[in-house]
Homo-oligomer: 96 residues x 4
Amino acid sequence: MVDLCVVPMGVGVSVSKYVAACEKVLSDAGLKTHLHAYGTNIEGEWDAVFAAIKKCHETVHEMGAPRITTTIKVGTRTDRVQTMEDKIKSVEEKLR
Amino acid sequence: MVDLCVVPMGVGVSVSKYVAACEKVLSDAGLKTHLHAYGTNIEGEWDAVFAAIKKCHETVHEMGAPRITTTIKVGTRTDRVQTMEDKIKSVEEKLR
Amino acid sequence: MVDLCVVPMGVGVSVSKYVAACEKVLSDAGLKTHLHAYGTNIEGEWDAVFAAIKKCHETVHEMGAPRITTTIKVGTRTDRVQTMEDKIKSVEEKLR
Amino acid sequence: MVDLCVVPMGVGVSVSKYVAACEKVLSDAGLKTHLHAYGTNIEGEWDAVFAAIKKCHETVHEMGAPRITTTIKVGTRTDRVQTMEDKIKSVEEKLR
């Protein structure tokens, strides 16, 4: 379970086309994603996810961004399998 | 525009009840939120949002967590108003 | 205990003058800080720290940055007092 | 340039021995690191750094932590080479 937020620098304030390019890289890699207002949740195996994140950086540089600063949150657990939906459902049940 | 991820420590691996308590604090504060698999998007004025985040820490400590580590992403812009939906729509349009 | 990383957008790739301005805001606020290669550690009371972070955003906008994205990590604990030096020393002792 | 903050969950509030184990993994991998109060700065090539971070997760799980949540900040730039010292020096010069 990963949360990714890619911030291109040196290309002005409007960065949605770079974020869209990253979304395409992630979906082309066959990863399950959910776009939210401050990043993208990604579900997948470690190596596949990080290979795709590297490709995001390469793609955004190729699109003309000279500098990128990215924040990644990674959650791993060995006690049980948990999907993105499980996590959200678990909180929502407690809210009821 | 804020993204909040509160991680209670010293209370075991299951933390959804603490996350649910934070959701309640945020909605009681009248803030617009969207829960995702690795945090919560929040829309609101700076002081209201950070007062609510402080209350989240107080609440989670009161519930018994001796230690908390939280990640907050904050975006501000002076050039134009942009909602959570605007940000997501702007990326989705480029994906089409 | 806070870690702060302010990223001005729409002002080119060179952002050290904005980071320097934030350092000044934090030290003018009487906070204890330690600058590292990817942010600044800050030690202080919640309200003082977050008031200073708000002032950092205001200052960076006034300097001409139309958009800012900031990452903040906040750690609080009720079990004991721990300084920045304590945290580092505790890890270094285990490394010996 | 990477900033890494590994948070083991389900092992109590004292996590310095896990952080120390990660420091060892990183230095065994030949990476240049700087430990600060809220994480570790790492300098190195993309693949080497992310292989080491994966090994940190494996090591911390083997030490008994059933769940880990990690924050990674990654900076890449194509315009010029910049070390950890360069970044800090650049800010400090502006502060003078």
